[in-house]
Amino acid sequence: MASLKDLKLRINSVKSTQKITKAMKMVAASKLRRAQEAAEAARPYAASMEQVLASLSAGITLTEDMPKLLTGTGRDDVHLLVVATAERGLCGGFNASIVRLARQRIQALLAEGKTVKILCVGRKGRDALRRDHAKLIIDTIEVTGGIRKQGFPIAGRIADRLFALYEAGEFDVATVFYAQFKSAIAQFPTAQQIIPAALPEGDAGGPDLKGAIFTFEPGEEELLEALLPRNVAVQIYRALLENAASEEGSRMSAMDNATRNAGDMINRLTLTYNRTRQAAITKELIEIISGAEAL
């Protein structure tokens, strides 16, 4: 049986843990709001981009000399997985769920005899994947300070990196893994193919085109060539923003749970503490009374 002093210390330590988790929850909540706004602010851009690309690609037929970003290399042998995770832990199942999805994909691809390469964005994903796929990881890009601080340029840098690898024939298909943000308590790990571009069907482009025939300046192919790389950067940027919002959402609910668990633990410990204290008092009383009776 723990002594009264031990119990008191224990209660105090759980209390200070609870204060920390509570503070982390508050911080995550305010960060979540900003991250969510950022993710929502990025949507019109990505949506318009997709719409234009869809109307562009609907108007032309695929030929051999088309940009490779659209047509692909014609092979399907080497897959590059861009695994976007957080820089920090303590955010519930966020990192784990993305890594789990990536790992499933890796195993499926390896079983089919494909070559897999991994590009980690964020430290946590690398730490988790290094355990059993260390040889497949080609590099890690760290997003220090969070995507909101880094802004769009970092997505551009990741995209440039991908193009360089693509040009060098290092991979055929690139897929980005991230957690799609639904709400503070629901985030879905998602895999999205970004190279070659997976475009929506021509008609799904937008509601207000009214069958319009566009004039393109410069020509359609030059435009496609200029827009496709930009689209990749935008998709990466969107994935990173969604990820940032998901991370904070996940952290918020994880910290909320932790705070509640700490509260339960404090209640239980306080109960034990009081019982022990009363038992000690009762024991002393019994000793005094029986001592008096013996006289």
Binding site: A38, Y45, Q51, V52, S55, G151, F152, A212, T215, L223
Partner: protein, 132 residues
């Protein structure tokens, strides 16, 4: 005929401008073009430059854009800029920072295509700074 054209300027970070205006002058890669109501559907690449919004015959807003593209649909004009700055709310300091960045890009340009891009960016920012 509608006498206003709906104009939206979005960057990856946020939507900078959204309103019904009279006319917008956009710096296209192959020359500036103005968008009035009922413009034909049109998609164009942009060069670094200034988008001018006109209201009642006067320029009501000027926004610097760094590469991107414009799309004119029956619903209006959408400019997707990789980077955009509202010139009404920036200071010279921000612009000189951008200028330094662009000049560094120009110095570091590896091939002609990059050099041309960086050069047009430098001259566009210089032009903006002269009038701002």
């Amino acid at each position: 005929m509608a006498d206003k054209v709906h104009f939206e300027l979005v960057s990856p970070e946020r939507r900078l401008f959204s309103a019904d205006v009279e006319m917008v002058v956009v710096p296209g890669e192959e020359g500036d073009f103005a968008v009035l109501p009922d413009h034909a559907p049109f998609v164009a690449l942009l060069r670094p430059g200034v988008v001018e919004v006109q209201e009642a015959g006067k320029i009501s807003a000027r926004l610097f854009v760094r590469s991107g593209f414009a799309q004119v649909t029956p619903a209006g004009l959408t400019v997707l800029a990789e980077e955009a700055i509202d010139l009404a709310s920036t200071t010279r300091a921000v612009l000189s920072e951008k200028l330094a960045e662009a000049e560094a890009n120009l110095a570091a340009a590896a091939d002609d295509a990059q050099r041309i891009r960086a050069d047009s960016e430098v001259s566009a920012i210089r032009q903006v700074m002269d009038v701002a």
